[in-house]
Symmetry: C2
Subunit: 424 residues, 2 copies
């Protein structure tokens, strides 16, 4: 029998994540160098701390370590979050925090809590694919706003908002990744953050602030003051703030959190109850042990220096191999370089050639909700080793030059060749 | 500012789980003996096996142990599931299996995949509250079907289905917990399982089969043959089967799975991508190690004997303390006794007195989608130690007798006293 007639309307519009799909595809390519996923570098995971903590937690002394736990999260961890948040300038009560199974769950729960089918969500152009999927899956209508060098264009934002209001559309929230945005690496300027809060107050719009990368600034070009969350200055209580341990400890522990007004957290608790009952108890305790052991503090500088160096390796390789052809804004933190190809070159066509050369990335279109971005691509430098970054960018350079040559030769790009290319 | 105007229609109808609420409430009562949650007994968790496995997995040898993983699940675990399923009579391909973050996530993903607002889901009367919440949260309309001693009443099921069809309602699926149902402990008879499959084929209805307790039969009254899943005989591919390691290994590892036709699993993968990216990588590997170490086989008999003995302890205590007042069907497996109070007695009123006496349970109404069940309650014998079961049932017996005396004395029950009583 076919199941098609049993699927919900939401199921019919669900799309595969381009990033996840690149992962499945890449698994079949020998010697692949992948710049596709935003994976942290596992050499930085606090293996020893976690191993010692696990040995203790699994001694059986505390039966709760493997039992069902409170939906809101492991109480000592929720308390610890308060300290982490204060270091970012965010004051919060215990009741304003909830642990989630990764920030992706935070996005999903927020989406289900705030979005009715057809509601408009305002997002940056481009924006994080995981957010696009979470909002799409509750049948939101995503409307993009262009970015400038210091982040989202507030004038364009206001024009878009006014137009939507005039059309009678309901805007549910503005989704922002202010710190080292995925995929562009852009950092919203401090003055613009203030103006965004003023704008949200004036227009009575909720802001969903996604901050997985704030701690990962590059010391040569940014500091903690540059990454101060909007939530820190949210006097009216309209910012829902998400952050995660996935980039600073380890993503396999699936532990993240949301800070929001108590009424929102109460509802998040309800929707999480039915979504997965609770986040893993061992995972939460491991995270709590690592944080209270001071790992984030003692290892923070090492993490920042590590990713800064990798960025430098990739930027130098890009400049060396294809500096004459492509451009990218210099990121001041995070995991990504956002590359614009020469005019007329299509990233899908380049990807086809790149995969043949055993190097991968995510095409920019996956991050645009308006169908644009065909000449852009996202390169993640966070996971591959330095020599692999060099080799991978060399391969990518050859793929780009081949594609240019092919277009000059016959006006025919590999995108026309029928080769299967993943789309976001 | 108030957030109410920003919440989605779904958020406005979300309700707190009575079981979760009992947990929060119970945390504030000293010396509470809780028969409320269906928690497994932590003395049975395979602590030593998991501790050794964690030491090895966290050595840093395999970076993937703490990295993001495939949404579908950890490949060796998915392969191992095939063997477990075969032991239950279910043949499946790799592509028909997906790991979920607990079975609650399985229910949630299935709900989102199959249900449009207003669609009818057929459920047993009473049924599992977690399923009620998951289906409610996508705004399903739940319609209950009574149960007989050998499970759901098929004639009533068919009448209900025909009535709904005549009304032009769309029935999306039938949700069943065939093995030691939560909350009643009932076991669907083998002949009825066959007839349910025939009925589903004839009426072209999807069945969602939830089987967390199938391995936990009581050897004195049931065996593996009695728990053969409907999925094992699903020749037309209309059964979506959920099971879990929460009751047989440990719930804190949040690892469960769904077996379904490949087209369904592909969609479950999509919705899970945006729900939490992947289930915890360490958790999945710990489960895989425990299963391949043979824990389910070597410890299976011990688990079954343990819960059988606890059931006996609770049944004897009930017979001793209030055997003259209450009735319950003898469960042949699982975690629960389903108690019916004397005529006219209200479980909410009894709960108020019980909490004052430091004993708790879940009132039956939480499990009924039709508002009935006021004279029923669920007692879980799985977690408390034997002497606590004895003491707790003694307290419950006093609470019930006090409530009867109060009603006889003044026609006034404690339910009228204004004391806050949790409702499902």
């Amino acid at each position: 029998m076919t199941f098609d007639r049993f699927f919900s309307s939401a199921a019919l519009v669900m799309r595969e994540s381009a990033i996840r799909r690149m992962g499945a595809l890449g698994a079949r390519i020998p010697d692949l160098i992948s710049f596709a996923p935003g994976y942290p570098d596992p050499v930085l995971f606090p293996w020893d701390t976690l191993r010692d903590a696990a040995a203790d937690l699994l001694s059986g002394q505390d039966p709760a370590a493997l039992q069902y736990g409170a939906t809101r999260g492991y109480r000592p961890l929720i308390e610890t979050l308060g300290t982490l948040l204060e270091a970012r300038g965010i004051r919060s009560t215990f009741e304003e925090r909830i642990v989630t199974s990764g920030s992706q769950q935070g996005l999903d729960l927020v989406a289900r809590l705030l979005i009715d089918p057809g509601d408009v969500i305002l997002v940056e152009l481009p924006t994080y694919t995981g957010a696009i999927s979470a909002f799409n899956n509750v049948r939101a209508s995503l409307v993009g706003v262009p970015q400038e060098a210091d982040g989202i264009d507030i004038e364009a934002l206001d024009r878009t908002f006014e137009r939507l209001r005039a059309e009678g559309r309901r805007v549910r929230f503005l989704y922002l990744v202010p710190n080292f945005q995925n995929p562009t690496g852009l950092l919203i300027g401090l003055d613009k953050r203030r103006r965004l809060l003023e704008w949200a107050d004036r227009q009575d719009v909720v802001i969903v602030e996604d901050d997985p990368y704030g701690d990962l600034y590059f010391p040569d070009s940014a500091g903690p003051a540059d990454t101060r969350p909007l939530k820190a200055d949210d006097t009216s209580g309209r910012v829902i703030y998400l952050s995660s341990f996935s980039k600073t400890l380890a993503p396999g522990l699936r532990t993240a959190w949301v800070v929001a007004p108590e009424a929102v957290v109460q509802k998040l608790d309800l929707v999480k109850q039915a979504a997965d009952i609770c986040t893993g108890g061992l995972d939460q305790r491991l995270v709590h042990r690592a944080v209270t052991a001071g790992v984030l503090v003692t290892e923070g500088d090492r993490l920042r220096a590590h990713y800064q160096r990798k960025r430098t390796v990739m930027e130098r390789a890009l400049a060396r191999e294809i500096g004459d052809l492509v451009t990218w804004p210099a990121p001041r933190g995070g995991f990504f370089l956002w590359v614009t190809l020469p005019a007329g070159l299509n990233a899908d066509a380049v990807l086809t050639r790149a995969l043949q050369a055993s190097v991968s990335f995510v095409t920019g279109t996956a991050f645009f909700v308006d169908g644009s971005g065909h000449d852009t691509l996202r390169l993640s430098f966070s996971q591959p080793a330095d020599d692999r970054i060099d080799e991978g960018i060399a391969r990518l350079g050859r793929a780009i030059r081949e594609e240019i040559d092919a277009q000059l030769a016959g006006g025919r790009s590999s995108a026309d060749s029928g080769t299967s290319v993943p789309r976001g």
